[in-house]
């Protein structure tokens, strides 16, 4: 983590960017999924990535913590600077990077273990707790932050897969928080949830903004409009338009954005 912070952060004119992607292109074998995408992610804000299916927004998200490394035949070009240091530099260990840039997936994917062990797993492998009390503390705080503690306090040892879908997703968020990341990537975190569970998760995401930088991929434009401060519209592997959420949804500059947010395609 320290080596990522060596270079000074370039100061943006309006706000501090924690991540800046420069001319990022991604190839899966011969197929190009992203074409020279550049994007600044402001710190402690929620940035949402919207666009039709297959537009490359999830691909972009998975570049930010190098989850694309696990995909066979995937190649990334360009630079992604986290606090000014390129995360694709050979010196960067992707394990530490992923501890700093947490991720929540589309389908809730708790480990088939107890709720406690789910949350404790990250701190355990990174050695964040030195004894049982510290670990307990991390687990309880993380569950509290994820707004799940009240519901599961008396059954921390029951299995995480026995929770409801919304609870499972909040458990996954708690699990990500337990590693104490700076940034949380969310890949359509509500797409498998019902409206009530979605509302709860959205509320949680908005609360988390105070302490974390959040990047969320979503298919729901209402969701993007409700919770995010900055929105980027992806189309066919390129960013068509990026700007403040309010401005992008009320007066889009590009007609493709206009078309997408008014529901003419996508």
């Amino acid at each position: 983590m320290q080596m990522l912070a060596e270079v000074d952060t370039p100061v943006e004119n309006e706000e501090k960017a924690i991540i800046s992607a420069r001319d990022v292109s991604v190839f899966y074998g011969d197929k190009q999924a992203l074409n020279k995408v550049s994007l600044e992610i402001p710190v402690n804000k929620i940035t949402s990535l919207i666009g039709p299916s297959g537009c490359g927004k999830s691909t972009f998200l998975r570049c930010l913590n190098r989850m694309n490394d696990t995909v066979e035949g995937c190649r990334v070009e360009g630079k992604i600077l986290l606090d000014g240091a390129d995360i694709y530099d050979a010196k960067v260990d992707e394990v530490l990077l992923r501890a700093r840039v947490g991720m929540v997936f589309q389908k809730p994917n708790p480990f088939p273990k107890s709720i406690y062990d789910n949350v404790a797993y990250g701190p355990r492998i990174h050695g964040l707790a030195h004894n049982k009390d510290e670990l307990d503390d991390i687990v309880l705080t993380s569950l509290e932050k994820a707004g799940l503690l009240k519901e599961v306090r008396d059954r921390l040892n029951s299995t995480g897969t026995g929770l409801s879908g919304g609870q499972q997703q909040r458990l996954c968020i708690a699990r990500a928080l337990a590693v104490q990341p700076d940034i949380i990537l969310m890949d359509e975190p509500c797409s498998a949830l019902d409206p009530i569970a979605t509302a709860k998760v959205e509320e949680l995401i908005e609360e988390l903004r105070e302490n974390y930088t959040i990047i969320i991929v979503t298919h729901s434009m209402q969701q993007a409009a409700r919770i995010s401060q900055k929105t980027a519209f992806f189309h066919l592997g390129e960013i068509v338009e990026v700007g403040d959420t309010e401005q992008l949804f009320t007066s889009p500059k590009d007609e493709r954005t206009q078309g997408y947010i008014t529901g003419r395609f996508g």
């Binding site: 066979e72 530490l96 501890a99 947490g102 991720m103 929540v104 994917n109 492998i125 699990r175």
Partner: protein
């Protein structure tokens, strides 16, 4: 029909004769298929029932033993005339004469040498050994007269069990009229008994069917499977993990995969030849030993375990891998903390099935000399040994009538082990089955 005329000309009428005929044909075809399926199952079950009934019918009597009780006088001047009670003296004494004395005492009227020889054959040839063991364990017996239960000779045993009927002409049966007369006398005095054949389960092989047992083969099988497991399980699981989780997908791994699948189809005798060439001729490991048998069977079991392990590793959804990697787990941590524990039930099932294949395997073991006649119970993996299926093969090859039931008895025991192992595999699968 006219008032129900479809609104659109392209709509199909669901009530026409053609549709009905079509439907009928479809139902008929389905019915035919069901009958075919049922017939197939019926045939399979019938064949299985024939197998089991025939084996059980022939083998059931192997678990019963005919015994003849005789009063044996452990005369001191015969066993240990000097009274030293030295182990060597006790071992070297002629216990055969004690048995003969006991029989002679029972039938004082038998005088001719020829008749005596027949008389002595009433009890098993292993009887002197039994007395030797008794005396060596308990020298106090010397000087006493004790009633001892001897195994009857195989012919008498067969006669008792009804395999040698009384009503065939004397020339056509192995038990002569005289023997039957003696037998009847003994039976009248209550000295002939049938009891559960515990010797069958506790002793090693023997040329005398009445005292031959399968314990040696069971122990040999155990040691062999132990070696097989110790080699093939770690190697198989590690290969599967590497191929599934770490290896790049390229031409080389494709070739490896194809070859592993081919290896699973190689006839077992070929593995036996390989074992002979490699472990005996090159490595000079001991012949007939479980260590060599285990290594050879490990070669054979390896592909089964690799294939099963790969399948169950592949069945773990990627979402679990993503979850672990997303938290900053290394690839190895992901595998050993999540993927491997979750796929273990499947791997164990595959391993048990592989091992039960190995348990029933005979051909490769013939090649490496595990077909030798071995009386002693093996005490370790380097002692000469035989295994259950080879024991069955050996007994099936023996001419004595009494080995027929021994063969079937051993088959019953082997099938029992196999059923047990497969039941464990099924239980494991059921218990840890997980839906994602």
């Amino acid at each position: 029909m006219t008032d129900m005329a479809p609104t659109s000309s392209s709509a199909k009428s669901w009530d026409s004769d053609e549709t009905r005929a079509n439907l009928k044909r479809r139902h008929r075809s389905e019915k035919r298929f069901r009958v075919l399926g049922l017939t197939a199952i019926f045939i399979a079950l019938t064949l299985l029932a024939i197998l089991i009934i025939s084996i059980a019918g022939k083998g059931a009597t192997a678990f019963i033993q005919t015994t003849i009780s005789l009063d044996v006088t452990f005369a001191e001047q015969k066993i240990d005339p000097k009274g030293t009670r030295d182990q060597e003296v006790l071992r070297g004494a002629s216990y055969g004469s004690l048995v003969r004395e006991a029989l002679r005492a029972e039938f004082p009227e038998v005088k001719s040498r020829k008749d005596l020889r027949v008389l002595f054959n009433l009890v098993s040839n292993g009887s002197p050994n039994k007395l030797r063991k008794m005396v060596m364990e308990n020298p106090e017996l010397i000087g006493q007269t004790v009633r001892v239960q001897f195994a009857a000779s195989d012919d008498i045993d067969m006669f008792t069990k009804g395999y040698i009927p009384r009503d065939v002409p004397e020339d056509d049966r192995r038990v002569k009229d005289k023997e039957i007369a003696w037998y009847d006398q003994l039976a009248e005095k209550g000295m002939v008994e049938t009891r559960f054949n515990s010797d069958f389960f506790t002793s090693g092989d023997s040329r005398e069917p009445e005292i031959a047992g399968i314990w040696g083969a069971i122990v040999g099988s155990f040691y062999t499977l132990f070696i097989t497991f110790m080699i093939s399980f770690p190697v198989g699981v590690m290969s599967a993990i590497y191929l599934e989780e770490f290896a790049p997908k390229n031409k080389f791994t494709d070739i490896v995969e194809v070859n592993i699948n081919n290896l699973a189809a190689v006839p077992s005798i070929v593995f036996g030849l390989l074992g002979l060439a490699l472990f005996l001729n090159v490595a000079h490991l001991p012949r007939s030993a479980p260590v060599v048998g285990g290594l050879t069977l490990a070669l054979m079991t390896l592909p089964t375990i690799i294939i099963a392990a790969r399948a169950s590793i592949r069945a773990i959804p990627d979402s679990i891998r993503d979850a672990a990697l997303g938290l900053g787990a290394s690839r190895q941590q992901m595998v050993f903390h999540h993927v491997l524990p979750l796929s273990m039930p499947g791997i164990m099932t595959g391993t048990i099935i592989g091992l039960s294949q190995a348990l029933g395997e005979t051909a490769p073991l013939l090649m490496i000399g595990m077909v030798a006649f071995i009386v002693d119970i093996p005490g370790g993996v380097t002692d000469p040994a035989t295994v259950l299926p080879v024991q069955i093969f050996l007994w099936a090859d023996s001419p004595e009538r009494a080995f027929v039931e021994k063969t079937s008895g051993a088959i019953i025991v082997l099938l029992g082990f196999l059923v047990f192992m497969n039941a464990v595999a099924v239980m494991l699968r059921k218990k840890f089955e997980r839906r994602w």
